[in-house]
Symmetry: C2
Subunit: 480 residues, 2 copies
């Protein structure tokens, strides 16, 4: 942990991010190119994300399972678009047990193919459907340009894989899981994501439709934070999965997949962080509150620590996640900065005067300076902290929503889009262009269609780029 100053966001957001993830103790560089070491503080955040999602997956009837890390090369080739999408990024095991393998094994970049091979065996009748499976796993994609949490050669994620009797059921599942992601992002991570559909150009390799949650980072770039794919019958056909329907006819089932990764850690950092460090939403924060005891000599210390011990017990008993900073030889000011860097939502300071008066100072990370600090009685501290954490959670979502909405601009011309993108922001406009048009816009502005948001103005319009009739608006932005 370090309290050295970081590059301010306004100077260089990217540098700020690259410094802060290390300084806050979330991760460390690894000796393996593009791989990341997730340090305990970062991993606790991941555990909170996992917990919030896993609970929601189980509540919607999904079961966890585990499939092999290695995929025979031939499997990947069965779905043509899929292999085309993933081939350039594969890591391949060619030697095992001291011998060259007859068929090379790919380290999974995603598990559709190996899981569909099992689904083929598990699905015979409509009674076996829906089949609702999720896997928590590591995957490997050999990316050339990597960035902590956002793009690493190995990353942790969950991948849901389901099979259904009809298109409608598969589509409903795809949408349900997108809503699960959005609910997690908004409720737990305080990130006001936009739900929408990907353009054909941006959809998953092998999917019919891809739905996404898109988040606006502090530099107004977009971050795709979770995707849910309706795979149609593409994979079922490629893997020859068939079931007898109620009319005793053989059918291919309809499958879906959906994934969310350690990238969500990056989303939390870049949505909420400021020049002082991380700001973690209380629901997912490893520590919701830090207690800093303040004293100058042994007499003061023993009185203060007695109060700290008593208050700690009360807070722990109420399942509030706390830590007490007992470090010696470090000033309270150093400790304040340190925990602000780590983004702990609330801080309780207890000194000799507080012991005498039965008070404490309670500071909130989301409101800087004196305005965010209040002096409170020790009595009733649990309820007060609970209220404060709720208030911080709500305020962080509110702040991020205001920021997002202030930076989405409607555009009626390509020039207007260029201006918005150049100034940093998301451009929303009627879209009736082609995939080639999208490619040209990306080349010229760096912006891509992030999604066709589910929230549409309604009616029709004229495409700001091609002048064609358009039935929906698209959101354009530069993205991570």
């Amino acid at each position: 942990m370090s309290t050295q100053a970081v590059t301010p966001q306004s100077v260089d957001f990217s540098a700020w991010y690259n410094e802060i993830v290390y300084k806050a103790g979330l991760c460390d560089l690894s000796p393996v190119r593009g791989c990341l070491i997730i340090k305990p503080y970062g991993y606790e955040l991941w555990e909170a994300i996992k917990g919030g999602l896993d609970r929601r997956f189980k509540a919607t009837g999904h079961q966890n399972a585990y499939f092999p890390l290695f995929i025979p090369e031939s499997f990947l080739k069965r779905e043509a678009e899929h292999v085309e999408g993933f081939s350039p990024e594969l890591a391949v095991v060619t030697i095992a047990g001291g011998k060259e393998l007859e068929e090379p094994l790919v380290v999974r970049p995603t598990s559709e193919t190996i899981i569909m091979e099992s689904f083929k065996n598990w699905i015979q009748s409509y009674r076996d459907l829906p089949l609702l499976i999720n896997q928590w796993a590591n995957v490997v994609r050999w990316e050339l340009r990597t960035r902590p949490f956002l793009r690493t050669t190995e990353f942790l994620w969950q991948e849901g894989h389901t099979a259904h009797a009809t298109f409608e059921e598969a589509e409903a599942e795809t949408m349900q899981m997108l809503n699960v992601y959005a609910d997690f992002a908004i409720t737990d991570a305080a990130i006001p994501v936009v739900k929408g559909k990907k353009s054909d150009r941006e959809k998953f390799a092998g999917a019919l439709y891809t739905y996404t949650i898109e988040a606006m980072m502090g530099d107004k770039r977009a971050l795709q934070s979770g995707t849910s794919h309706n795979l149609g019958q593409n994979f079922a056909k490629a893997f020859d999965i068939k079931f007898l329907d109620e009319a005793n006819q053989l059918q291919n089932p309809w499958t879906t997949s959906w994934g969310l990764s350690t990238r969500m850690i990056g989303a939390i950092v870049m949505t909420h962080g400021d020049d002082k460090g991380l700001r973690l939403p209380p629901t997912v924060a490893p520590f919701q509150l830090v207690i800093v005891p303040i004293y100058k000599n042994d007499d003061e210390k023993s009185a203060v620590m007695e109060a700290v011990g008593r208050i700690s017990q009360e807070l722990l008993a109420a399942n509030i996640r706390i830590t007490v900073d007992k470090r010696e030889g470090v000033s309270p000011g150093f400790k304040f900065n340190d925990w602000e860097m780590r983004g702990v939502p609330a801080r309780l300071e207890i000194g000799p005067k507080d012991v005498a008066n039965g008070t404490a100072a309670l500071a909130r990370r989301d409101v800087p300076g004196k305005e965010g600090k209040q002096f409170v009685p020790q009595e009733g501290i649990v309820a007060r902290v609970q209220d404060l954490l709720k208030s911080i959670q709500a305020n962080m979502l509110q702040q991020a929503t205001v920021f997002r909405d202030a930076n989405i601009h409607d555009v009626n011309s390509y020039d207007a889009l260029k201006q918005v993108i150049e100034a940093g922001g998301w451009a929303r406009g009627w879209w009736g262009g082609t995939g080639d048009d999208e490619a040209r816009i990306k080349e010229e502005t760096g912006a891509t269609i992030r999604c066709f948001p589910f929230e549409q103005p309604g009616g029709n319009g004229v495409c700001f780029y091609s002048g064609a009739q358009a039935e929906q608006v698209a959101l354009f932005a530069r993205a991570y």
Copy 2:
């Protein structure tokens, strides 16, 4: 799920095991040689094991982190014994992103080397010690002969890695974590493991000492179920890890590592299972109780399901893990067999007469037939089920302990050992032999020293093999 008969244990224990893990729905064959698919029921069991261990790791001050899957080949070579032990089993990535790698990357068989490289950066002063890290991960060891859960090319595990200022502290940690494993095995998994020390011949590649928990399976073979290693300064020296001690002297820290894997699932199956299927200890069972509604027509059904719904709510509210078998077109007898195969500890049957009388039939998996079934009032069902689950948990541990103790035999001669091993059993005798003696005994009898148990008779004796003076007894057995 199938209710076809399995090979009885008495006919062929190994065949019984190989059939039952699939029939009970724990796992499935994978298209990748030696890899296993862990199905939802098996994975839920693993989640219970993870939960029980993770809670204990955190209570003893450990933090989770995550390190790369890939290890540069050169890292493994730094600790001479370590690389010698693991080289024959490595899977190696030679191609990534379409190009041949300059330095091949090994898929981790265990993570001492990559983690020590981080410890080198994280440890500077005695204030950084102890460093207490755990990782939940997949690892790969290219085994030639594989068996579900017991030995697979890829498996899931946790690996703890810690660093300490002194030998004594490292030794205390090694022992603490062995005790954590033993407490989990005995308390949660109802497996009365024997704690002990490995012989030099059987210790971990690169360790000073290896401690183990050894379990007796239903065929009286031993299963090493968790190990804890005092690595001395071997890895710290190989990776040049140094810290300034309180006297401002540079020292190498003392490190430990300890691991427990999905092999524990095999241990639970083979300790408790019988010819009817699995028998799962209530503490780790995915479902602690199954409710089977019994009815012949729609009128009966609606009355029965009303009672089932009410009782389910009561049990769920008390955090009892239940499932209701609502399948239609399957007889109650079929369902009973099915859930016995899956090892659910308790079964509640509710039929029309029970609805009329306010009763239910409550059966326990650990006591077969009528003796294990009682008719109970619906009123007070929660307390009754809780008591029953406690009683089942205790009885399963008791049964396994009696079985274990009845099959450990003291031997005073090599002939006696041969007899015990041949008959199936563990032989305990004074041991003062060499590593070569151990190798010869293994070749001639198939038995190895499982451990020098911590529980020793005291005093000295004469080695049953070499006739040398011996200071401790060893436990010999054939092992998985």
